[in-house]
Structure formats: C-alpha cells, structure tokens
Symmetry: C3
C-alpha cells in the first residue's frame, strides 16, 4: 500500500463520512498543499484530576499546561486553564513555597476567613465552604496562557497553579488549547 | 431555480462583492467539498441589557451564554462573557441564593464598603460609586466559558453570573463565541 | 517585475519552504480567490516595556491595545493583554485619576499592606514584595479585550490599564491579537 506524498492531516474530518480512496486523498493533498490552504484552527482539550491530602493546597500545573500545548500541536494561540469547581482557583504566580503559605494565610486572615457560622450558604445547604467560594471569586478560576512560536509565552517567573480551597475529594481542571 | 448540490455556507463572504452565479457557486462548493477545505473559524457576538431594580444584584445568565454558543454554531471553542461597565462583574459560581447574599455582604463588609466619603473618585466627579469599581476589580469583569463537543464545558455546579454593583440604570454585557 | 492580480497574503507561510514563482503564486491566488477559501485565522503578538518612576503606578495602555488590533488586521476576535510578571496587573476600569489613587490606597490599606515583615516570601528569598504578588492575584494579571467590526468592543467608560505593584525596573506586557 503506497504512502501518498501529501496526505490529508488526520485532524481533517471526512465530510459526510464519504469513503476516501488513497488515490483521491493523494490528489487532494497535493492540491491543498499547492494552494497553500490556510492552516486549520486546532483545538485540543484535556482534563486534570486532583484529590488533595490537605483541604487547602497550591499545586504547580505548568508542565501539564505545556503538555496540552504540545498535544494540540499549536505554535500560535493560547491554552485556557479553567477550574471546573466553584471552590478552587487557577492563577499565575511564583513557584516559591514561602509565598504559597503567605497566600493561604492571607486568604484565611484577610480575604475570607473560613468561619462557617458567618455565612448563609452554610445554613440549609449542608455546606460549610462559603469561604472557599469567596476565595475562588477573589483569585479567579481561570487563566489564558499565551502560546508564541511553539512555547508558553511567559515572563521569567510566571508559573500556573491550581489553588484548592476545599479539597480532599475529586476535583477537575480543564485545559483547552486553541490556535494554529 | 435549482438548488446547487454543494453550496457555499452563508457565513462565507463574497470577496470584493463580485456577483456570483448559481452555476459558479455549485462548482466552487463541489471543489471546496472535495478539497476538504478546513472549517472556517466562526465568531458570533450578542449583547445582554440589564436594568436592575436593586442597586446591587446577582443574575444567572448561563442560559443566555448557551444561546450565544448555539447561535454561533460552534462545537469547539469558547464564549467570552464580558461586562461593558466598570461597576459590574461577570463570574462563575454557584446558583444558591444564600451564597449570593453572602457575596453581597462580603463585598460591603470586607472587600469595599460603599462609604462614598472615603474615596477620591467620589469628590469632584459627581460619582458616589468608587466601591462598585473596586468590587468589579476584585471579582473581575469577564470570564471565558469553554465549549467542547457542542456544550458549555462546565463542572457540576458551575453557572455564569452577572454581578451588578451599581444598577438601577441600563447596563450591558457582551457575549462573543469563537470556534469551529 | 509584474504584480500578480491575486497574491497570497504575506501572513501565508510557504509550506516546507519550497520556493515559489510569481506565475505559480498568481495562479494559486486566483484559485484561492475563486474558491472563496475561508479567512485565515490571524494572530499578532507584540510586547510593551515599562520602567516606572514610582514603585506603584497605574498606566492607561488602551491605545497600545488598539494598535495591536490594527497591526493584526483583525475585524472579529480579541486581544489578550497579559502582564509577564507576578507583581503586576492588567485590568479594565475608568480613566479617572481620583479612582487610580483610590485603588492604590485600597490595595495598601485593605487588600494587602506592604508590611514586608508579615510575609514568609520576604524571608530567605531576599524579596520584600509579597504584597505585590497578593495585589496581582486580587486584581488579576490579564484581560481579554473583544474586537467586533474592527474596533475594541468596549462600553462607554472602559479602558485598559497596566497596574505596576513593584516597579522602578524593567517589566513587560504581552499583547496577542487573534481573529479574522
């Protein structure tokens, strides 16, 4: 079975599911190549799962974001990194353990103390995690990581983190790369 | 008037406004079909208008975001949801009325009390809403909602909200879907 | 040297670096034009550099964002505006100097006082800027500016700002336009 010189990329769906001969594919590939057809927009989606040992925890996920970029095969575009829960955050900051502890202390002492009795959310719903919701709102639940020339286009100290504000159970983060 | 077997999609603009015969369109459609031309990136923009009864209010707009996705006809991509005002927020959190009240109380008591006399913005500009600006900065004014396999790709409890921090007048939110 | 009637746009890379005659380019351009090939997704990336006189400063960068949109030549899409540092913010708010001072005071007095002795990040790392990190987390480090019909699609008072929380040294902001 000969390999056509220019083949349709596997990400190119067959329209209407019409079967496609090798010969037809080769001719089509040659024509598309010759026409310099514009690069298809590519998207790629993956998911991370966490089940933290501590109730609050900060986890560096930069390598997973870069893996999604590589799997998408994009050189220009972005990766959306979005927590799928309303008691967690995704943010960009510094890989420094002293700062991570500062963030946890700051959330507890200044931004939104855990104090379940102070919140309405915690009465009637069986929940005690209103503070985790407020922390998620303050820091945000998603970031867009730019991709330029095939790399995460970050400054010298930027890393991506998952912030777990109410863990010790299964939680997920979505990664979606989009670009060309 | 016969219908061509393969027609150009209506989202495909006619370049330079050159008029286009049915016959030419049919040939072109066949060729593009045969070449498996890459899916066009689609964008679709719509706007929501609010005029809240209360000065501060939280409104679930998830159904409107999903409507924008459907109108765009995208199966992979995202919907940008962005408040067009600097005294409002858009955020993702929980559809639970106790929590909504917690958020309003937290903004007033801990993040940015209304107290107009404490702010410079409120002297000289005729405005008394500096606190609404600071609340918008804290929670943010926009979110990116991922779209996967034709659905808003949310975790089990995620919903999109408009947070009005200085209402009782006409305010707008932009929805822009982009993808393929 | 004759100009071909329909030329490939310069943003169209030559696949595999194969050299391309004027004649071939003209035929290809005609065919692509005739096929109404879908609009290419365009991306354009530029960088801003700041070196503020004061350690904290708020700078209106809306005109630079609009310049990036224009250079990208997109009429539908967005511009990602993202600080490349973990002690700075990018945000959308009001061009009003009283409010800028309110924001600086609010960050110092309510959100994250500078007080270097209170933070772990400031011991052992030689840094005294933990507060700048927390301010960056609160306000966020990036925004997505929607582009519709060739314009930044903003409400009446919205402008884009760079918030420097630890300046007096070289810092950068990435601008990436994407769309069609």
């Amino acid at each position: 079975m000969p390999t056509p010189k220019y083949s349709i990329s596997p990400s190119q769906p067959l329209a209407n599911g019409v079967p496609d001969s090798h010969r037809a594919r080769a001719i089509r590939g040659t024509l598309r190549y010759w026409l310099r057809a514009p690069a298809d927009v590519k998207t790629h989606t993956s998911y991370l799962t966490f089940n933290t040992k501590k109730r609050q925890e900060i986890i560096d996920i930069t390598d997973e974001v870069d893996k999604c970029r590589a799997e998408a095969g994009i050189s220009e575009g972005f990766v959306l990194v979005s927590a799928m829960h309303i008691s967690a955050s995704v943010f960009v900051n510094d890989h420094e353990s002293g700062l991570w502890q500062d963030i946890l202390d700051w959330l507890e002492n200044r931004i939104a103390p855990w104090s379940p009795d102070e919140y309405r959310h915690n009465s009637g719903t069986g929940e005690d995690n209103a503070a985790a919701h407020l922390r998620s709102l303050t820091i945000g639940h998603e970031v867009i990581v730019p991709v330029t020339k095939g790399r995460l286009d970050f400054g010298p100290w930027q890393r991506v983190f998952y912030g777990e504000w109410d863990g010790q159970r299964k939680k997920r983060v979505l990664l979606k790369a989009m670009g060309e």
